[in-house]
Amino acid sequence: MSQPNRLKTGGRVDRSRQLTFTFNGQRYQGHPGDTLASALLANGVDIVNRSFKYSRPRGIVAAGAEEPNGIVQLGSSEAGQVPNVRATQQALYQNLSARSTNGWPNVQRDLMGLVGKLGGQFMPPGFYYKTFMAPASMWLTYEKYIRKAAGLGRSPTENDADIYDHRHQHCDVLVVGAGPAGLSAALAAGRAGARVILVDEQEEMGGSLLSSRESIDDAPATTWAEKVLKELSALEDVTLMPRTTANGYHDHNFVTLHERCTEHLADIAPHVGGRRQVRSRMHRVRAGQVVLASGAHERPLVYAGNDVPGNMLAGAVSTYIRRYGVVPGNRLVLATSNDDGYRAALDWSEAGREVVAIADARQNPDGELVEQARAKGIRVIAGSAVIEARGDKRVAVAKVAKIDIEGFKVSGPVEELACDTIASSGGFSPVVHLASHTGSRPTWNEELLGFVPSPVKGMTPTGGAHGVYALGKVIADGFKAGSAAGEACGFERQDASLPKVDERREGAAVALYQVPHQKATLRGPKQFVDMQNDVTAAAIELATREGFESIEHVKRYTALGFGTDQGKLGNINGMAIAARCLGRTIPEVGTTVFRPNYTPVSFGAIVGRHCGELFDPERYTAMHQWHVENGAEFEDVGQWKRPWYFPQKRRAENGERLETMHEAVARECSAVREKVGILDASTLGKIDIQGPDAREFLGRVYTNKWAKLAPGRVRYGLMCKDDGMVFDDGTTSCLGENHFLMTTSTGGAATVLEWLEIWHQTEWPELDVYFNSVTDHWATMTVTGPEARKLMAELTDIDLDKDSFKFMDWHEGNVAGVPARVFRISFTGELAYEINVQANYAMHVWKKLFAHGDKYGLTPYGTETMHVLRAEKGFIIAGQDTDGSVTPEDLGMHWAIGYDKPNSWIGKRALTRPDTKRTDRKQMVGLKPKDPSVVLEEGAQVVFDPNHAIPMPMKGHVTSSYYSPTLQSGFALAVVKGGHQKMGETVYLPMVDGQVHEAEIVSPIFLDPKGERQNV
C-alpha cells in the first residue's frame, strides 16, 4: 500500500479518488479531503523541514494554523511560487508540488545541521548580534549568508500570473470561526434576521466537530454541523465563507478577511469559461457586531527533544485519525496535564495501534476519559511526564519519570519506553490574537490557565476563544453570543433550542508548561518553546539572566513569537518559563502584543487590482492625444501626465535620431524668446470664487491687496500659512464685482481649496463666499513669444491692441470660434496670452493655433522649457524654491506684501516674530557659476569658505538650476543666509566628487529685469 499510515475506513477523505503530488521531488498519493500535511503523514513522511536556526529535522506537529514546522514552498512553475504555506492548511490537489523551505542540500541530509549540532551550544540568543556585529562594516556581508541559511521560503522571480480582488462589505454580525460556537452563534443571529457573515479558515466548516468523539442529539457531531450549515445556507441574509481567514481586527469593528478562492485547486488560478479566476480576495468588512468564535489552540508540553519528528499535539493526532483517516505512527506515548489529551490515546487505540503508556502529570487523574482509557487496558502513569524524547530522524524512545511540578524537578526513576510517536497536551490557549489586534491586552484567567480576551466594544468572544470547552456549553454559549449580537443590532432575542449533548465528567487539569529534566535547563538537552523560531527554554532563561525582564524585551532578544508564527504554540509556555525564571506569576509577566496578520497573506491580496495601470489614476489634459502623437516625453506632476519636452528628429550620420532633452529644451527656449511657443497649462489649479464677500476673503488669505482690483484685471498673489511661510502662489482674476478666478500650482490645487474652506468654515463663517474647483472644466494654453500677438490676431475677435488689452488684463471673446477667456499673464517673461476654453473645445482650438502658427514658427514646449524660462525671470515654484521655511521677505517680494491692509491677513503677525525678522535668514538670490558650462546641482549646499575644516558651516542651498540657451550659461536660484546683502560676493559649492564650484551671488532675475518684453 502506498499510504502506510492511511486507515481503511473513517475520516472525511474520498478514498475512491487518488491525487498525485510531489514533495521535495518525490511523488506521493493522497485523496480529496486531505491537506498536504495529512497526505504526507499518510505516506509516512517524517521530516518536512529543517529548523530555522539549528537546522534540526522537523516534522508535522499540529493540524491547523498553529503548525510551526510544516512551512513549505508551493509551486510547479516559477510564476506560481508561493512561500510560507502551512502544509496543515493547504488542501491537496492533483499535481501539487511542494518543497521544504529550509535544508541544504536537502532536508534528509542537511549540512547545516552539523552547524546546529556542533554549534548548538555556541548559539545562544542574540548569537548573531553578539558574534557578527564587529566590525560593523561587515554586517551586511554576514547578513547575506545568515539569511540564505535561514530562509522561510522565497518569492517568485517572475511576475505573478494571478489576479486578486478587494470587496467592501457591511454586515450586522460577523462570526469568526465555524466550529460549534460559531455555527451556533450564526444560527442565533441568522434566525433573528440579521445580516450575518460566517467565516472559517478551513476547507470545510465545522471546526472541532469534524474530529469530535462526541454525539449531538444522539448522532455524530458532524451530522449536527451539516444540519446547521444547511439551515444557514437557506437563510437569505447569511453568507458562508469557508477558506476565509479573519486576519486583522481593526478600529470600529473593521475586519479584513482573506478569502482563498482557488488555492485548493492549483498554484495559479485556473481558467473557467476562458477567464482566469480570482486567486484570492480581500474583504474589508465593517461589522455591527463581531462574534469571536476562533476557538483555542492546544499547548504542547515543553520537554527535552520535543522537536524530534514524531512529537505532536494530542489534539492533532486525534484530528488526523478522525478527520483524515491517518494514524501518524505505530506506538504512541501520550504526555498530558488534562483529560482532553486522552482523546488521542483512545482514538489511537481504536485505530488498532498500540498505546504504550499515558504519562499524566496529575497525581490522581479520575475523569471519564481516564476511566475509558484504563478500561481499554492502557497503562496510565500518574504524576509523571515525558521528560525527554530520544531519536534521530524520528522518535524512538520516550523517557518518562515522576515529576514534582511545584519543586520543578524529576522526583523518580526514569523509565525508557520504546515508541515512535509522543503526543502531548498542556491544556488550551484561547485564540485571542484578533481581540488583541485592537490594542486590548488579554487577561490571565487562573482557573482556565490561559489568557482570555479583554473587552472590546462591539465584540463578543464565545466558546473556546474565552475558555469554554465542554461541547454542550460551547453550543449554548455560541447561541447566547449570536443572539446578543443580533439584539445589539436591533433584532429580536432568540430563544435557544439547544441540541442534547451528554455532559462529560472531567477531572481538573494541572498547570504544566516546562517539564523538569534531570539536568538544569541551561545544561540539559534542548527543550523547544517556539519551534518556528528555534527558541528554547534555555534561551528564555538566559535572556532573563542577562537582564531582560520585560516580556517584550525577552521576545525581541530570543525571537519568541516572532514572524509568521505570532506565538501561536509557544507564547504561553514562553511566558510561563520567563515567569518561573523571574520568580513572578504569569499575569505579572504579562503577554506580548499580537499583530495582524493572523496568518500570512499574499501581497497580491493586499494590493488587489491596484497595480500596473490601475495603481494610481492618471490625469490627462484635453490635448493629451496630440502630445502623444507629436512624440512628447511626459513628466508626472501629481497624478497629471504633462509633456516634459517634445524631442524632434534630427539628421544624423546614419539616418535620423531623436533630439536629446538638452537639445530639445534649447530649441524650445529659443522659439519662445525669438518667435512663439505654446504650453499646455491646463493642469494649473483653478478655483472659482463667488459671493459678496469674495474680495474681502481674498484680502485675508493673500499677502497683497485685493480691494481695488477691477473686473477685467488680474493680480499675482502669495499665500502664507499663519506662521508667515509661503505655501502657494498664483494669479487671481476679477471676473465680476463678486466673482474671481484663482489659479494655484498644479500640485497645490486640492490643498489650496481645502485651505480656503477651512478658513471660511472655521474662522470666518460670517463671510458670504463660495469656492468651487473648475480645474477640469477649463483647458488652458499659453501662447507666448514676440510673435504671439500676430498669431492670436488671426484667430480671435478680441481687440489685441496693447493699450486696450494690457499686461495683467483679461478679456472675454472668441478664439477659433469658441467662447474663451484670454489672460495676459506671463510665466515666461515674454508677451503671453493664456487662452482658457471649455475643455471639450480645447483640442479644436489647439489644432487651429497650429494650423495658423506654422508661419510664425509656433513651437510646442513642455515643463522643462517652462522651468528654464521662468527661472531666467526669477519666478518661483512654490514647493521647489520654497519649502515651508521661506517668508515673502526671504523671497525679496516686499512688493507683494500689504503691511498696511486694514485686516490682519494670514501670515502677517508671524512676519514680526523675532525669528522671521532676522536678517541672516536664508534669502532667495541668483547664482551665476563662474564657469558658464557648469549647471549646479539642485540641492547642492552653499558655503562661504571652501577651506574651512569639515564639517563646513552650510550657508544655503540651490533650489532651481538649469542651463540657459539665452544666457549661454548655467544659472541657478538659491537660498543663502543674508543673501540679499551679499550681491556680487562669491560662494562655493563643494560636491560629492570633490569638485568645488564657484558662483557669484546675483539678482534672481537674470533676464529683462524691467519686464519690458512681457509688457509690449
Binding site: 467592501h168 478600529d251 465593517r286 474652506e757 468654515q761 490682519s904 503677525r909 508671524a910 523675532p914
Partner: protein, 122 residues
C-alpha cells in the same frame, strides 16, 4: 480604520473619505497684532496630546467638504461624539473622567489621565 458619522451628510462613512486637521477649538486671536510673541507662538505651535478625551477637527474631504468636530478617546479610539462647527462638545475630559470614575473604582488612573491632559507645556 475609523467609521465616522458626518454630521452634515447624516451618515457613517469610512475614514478614507476624511482628513484629520488637528486639535479642534483652537481659536485665532481676534486681533493678532495685539498679541505678544509668546501668545502668538502658543496659538501657532502648541497643541495638546492627551491620553484620553480629545476634541479634533476633521473634514469630509471627498464627501461634502465640510469641517466638523470629533470627540475621540485616544486610547480606545472610540468616537464619543461628533458635532458641527460652532457647536460645543457635550463630552469633555472632566465629564468623561467623572462618568468613568463613578463607573469604576479606578480613580487613580483617571487622576493620572487628567495630569496628562494638561498638555505638553505642563
Amino acid at each position: 480604520m475609523f467609521y465616522i458619522f458626518c454630521p452634515y451628510c447624516g451618515e457613517h462613512r469610512e475614514e478614507e473619505e476624511f482628513h484629520p486637521k488637528g486639535q479642534a477649538h483652537i481659536s485665532r486671536p481676534a486681533d493678532p497684532e495685539a498679541t505678544s510673541d509668546e501668545e502668538w507662538g502658543d496659538y501657532l505651535f502648541f497643541r495638546d496630546n492627551p491620553r484620553g478625551v480629545h476634541h479634533e477637527l476633521w473634514v469630509h474631504a471627498v464627501g461634502c467638504r465640510k469641517f466638523f468636530n470629533i470627540t475621540r478617546h485616544t486610547v480606545s479610539y472610540e468616537i464619543l461624539e461628533v458635532y458641527k462647527m460652532g457647536e460645543q462638545p457635550s463630552i469633555t475630559a472632566e465629564h468623561y473622567a467623572a462618568q468613568q470614575g463613578a463607573a469604576s473604582a479606578d480613580k487613580e488612573r483617571n487622576a493620572s489621565q487628567a495630569k496628562h491632559q494638561e498638555g505638553v507645556r505642563a
